[in-house]
């Protein structure tokens, strides 16, 4: 492989990822504690929305109940570690097993539904789970919440500072994204896209649509559960109001903002949503001192409509285009002014 080919590959495929990871490593050392906690929240939401992106963007199934899986993970970890004193990893695994089982039980009947009906069914499921969180007071603490969840501990290593937790969350998010990307680029991913394209055609080429819908639903539930478990360890206190239908809608908004048809879209949506949310909390009271905290919802409603009209694919494809243009320009420049022994070709192709 000649120099310019390597250079193109780097610029187009790995350059962005490398720069992104480099930024992730540097940012916590220059960020203050508030920004660091915001970035941890972004990472947690990013894990949920990456799973949701697979479900919505690739398999074309909508869910308004993912806060329930997020909550199941959170309560599983809280109960396992807080009540029974088990290691953190056990809490996560119990959460995953429980969320996965619930996803199978819910998915079998609901995934036969389509569009609005599926949305309503998952919304109903979310409300049922919320009610369980609220009413099972002996286990969950009810509306008073669950206090004293210990910090996450993995094989004796305690993630007891924001910096440690930040690296744990973002490493998991990157692994989660790469794992999802691997699935999307595989035969399974093609099957999911075919289901999104046309149920009838997917069926006619021999894709077991119910099975794939269920699998991706369970996978997205597992992502949400893992994020929920880690969230519980991070905040050390949870209550049912953190896992309402509104939280599910928030996840959905993130996916739409970021772009559901791009595996990075969920993460981008989480970054934009959380940062904007925090910004609005600061800025809005300056101009409208008397408005309540719900004002952000109005803004996100407007933003959602604007994105659906002007960027229906979300932000990720637009950012991808900008990156490719920059990388392409850089690559051309490198080819023209490249080292003397480099092939004098643009983009590495001999013509």
């Amino acid at each position: 492989m000649n120099h310019s080919k390597v250079s193109e590959l780097y610029n187009r495929h790995y350059g962005g990822l490398f720069l992104f990871i480099a930024a992730l490593v540097i940012v916590p050392f220059v960020a203050n504690s508030f920004l660091l906690s915001v970035l941890i929240l972004v990472g947690l939401y990013g894990i949920v929305t990456t799973g949701l992106t697979m479900l919505m963007g690739y398999a074309g199934q909508i869910s308004l109940g993912h806060a329930a899986f997020y909550g199941i993970g959170a309560y599983a970890s809280a109960v396992m570690t807080g009540t029974y004193g088990m290691p953190g990893i056990v809490g996560i695994l119990v959460g995953v097993a429980f969320a996965g089982t619930v996803a199978v039980l819910i998915g079998i009947p609901t995934l036969k539904l389509k569009e609005n009906y599926l949305a309503l069914a998952t919304l109903g499921f979310g409300i049922i789970i919320f009610t369980f969180f609220k009413e099972l007071k002996e286990i969950t603490g009810g509306l008073n919440g669950f206090f004293g969840i210990p910090s996450f501990n993995l094989f004796g290593f305690a993630f007891d500072t924001d910096l440690k937790f930040y690296f744990l969350i973002w490493a998991l998010l990157i692994v989660g994204i790469l794992f999802s990307k691997n699935i999307i680029d595989s035969r399974v991913g093609r099957a999911l896209r075919s289901i999104h394209g046309s149920d009838v055609a997917a069926n006619s080429i021999g894709v077991n649509i119910q099975q794939y819908k269920l699998k991706v639903f369970v996978l997205s539930a597992v992502y949400a559960s893992v994020a929920g478990s880690l969230y519980a360890h991070y905040v050390t206190f949870i209550n049912p109001n953190l896992f309402t239908a509104m939280e599910s809608i928030t996840f959905l908004i993130m996916v739409v903002i970021g772009g559901s048809a791009n595996i990075w879209g969920g993460m981008i949506g989480a970054i934009v949503y959380v940062l904007l949310n925090e910004l609005l909390k600061e800025v809005v009271p300056m101009f409208f001192p008397n408005v309540g905290g719900e004002f952000q919802i109005v803004f996100f409603g407007i933003l959602l409509v604007a994105i659906l009209i002007y960027m229906p694919q979300g932000l990720a494809p637009t950012l991808g285009k900008v990156w490719r243009r920059l990388a392409g320009r850089k690559n051309k420049k490198a080819a023209v002014t490249g080292p003397p022994n480099a092939d004098a070709t643009v983009g590495g192709s001999k013509s």
Binding site: R187, R190, A191, R193, S194, H196, G197, S198, V200, A201, N203, S204, I205, G206, V207, N208, A261
Partner: protein, 244 residues
């Protein structure tokens, strides 16, 4: 090659197929015509494994397909080209075709590429637009793509559900010629469901007319073309319905 014996299929409580029976020989084109709601698409869906019959048998190459799921049926060499093409709009022409080979993932890329090239020989226009999203193709091109996608599953029996729907007469003629070519050059057996009775009977060896979930008339396509009942009901003659 295929024996359909006394098939009864229901959609919920609705009794759609009421004892359908017919046989199909290898390399034959069998046309199924009939009005809307006669149960033609349900019959194809039942053979393809999309719908399960409550009664009756489907024997394919001597083996009972039983209540096998659609993926098992596709693996056995039966493919369905669905009504209204059902192209994957967002995927490229080539990706659409590759999805047709969904169950041949164990085969080498070289083999699959050879099959894609074979499809391009049949439909040269598709090659010139292989990177174009399927949704941007015209109706005729999409139908070609739907057939090519079906061929990528390497079918011995291909079932086409109204391939002429919404297409210009010249395109319909091309499509029918391709079906004839598939039969003569590749030995593919074809079941063709059509509302364009004239075009279907022209290309078919044998045919049947379906009415309200039953086969009303069955025979050689040429003789059906001359049958006064068919002529009256479907080819512009007098009368309105085919007597059962």
């Amino acid at each position: 090659m295929l024996q359909v014996k006394d098939i009864h299929t229901y959609h919920g409580f609705l009794h759609v197929l009421k004892g359908i029976s017919f046989e199909l020989n290898k390399g034959e084109i069998f046309a199924i015509v009939g009005s809307n709601g006669a149960g033609k698409s349900t019959l194809l869906g039942t053979i393809a494994g999309i719908y399960q019959q409550r009664q009756g048998k489907i024997l394919y190459e001597g083996n009972d397909l039983g209540k096998q799921k659609v993926e098992e049926v596709v693996k056995k060499g039966i493919c369905l080209v669905p009504e209204r093409r059902q192209i994957f709009d967002a995927l490229s022409v080539k990706d659409n075709m590759m999805l047709g080979a969904y169950h041949r993932y164990r085969q080498s890329k070289k083999t699959l590429q050879q099959d894609i090239d074979r499809c391009y020989e049949l439909f040269p226009k598709l090659k010139t637009m292989e990177d174009r999203p399927g949704g941007l193709l015209s109706g005729g091109e999409q139908q070609m793509l739907a057939i090519a996608r079906g061929l990528m599953s390497n079918p011995k029996l291909m079932m086409l559900d109204e391939p002429s729907l919404g297409l210009a007469p010249l395109i319909v003629k091309d499509i029918m010629n391709i079906l004839d070519q598939l039969r003569t050059e590749f030995g593919t057996t074809i079941i063709l469901v059509e509302q364009n009775v004239k075009a279907a009977l022209k290309v078919a060896d044998r045919a049947c007319v379906m009415e309200r979930g039953e086969i009303a008339i069955e025979g050689e396509a040429k003789s059906l073309m001359k049958d006064p009942r068919v002529r009256d009901a479907y080819l512009g003659g007098k009368g309105r319905t085919v007597p059962v």
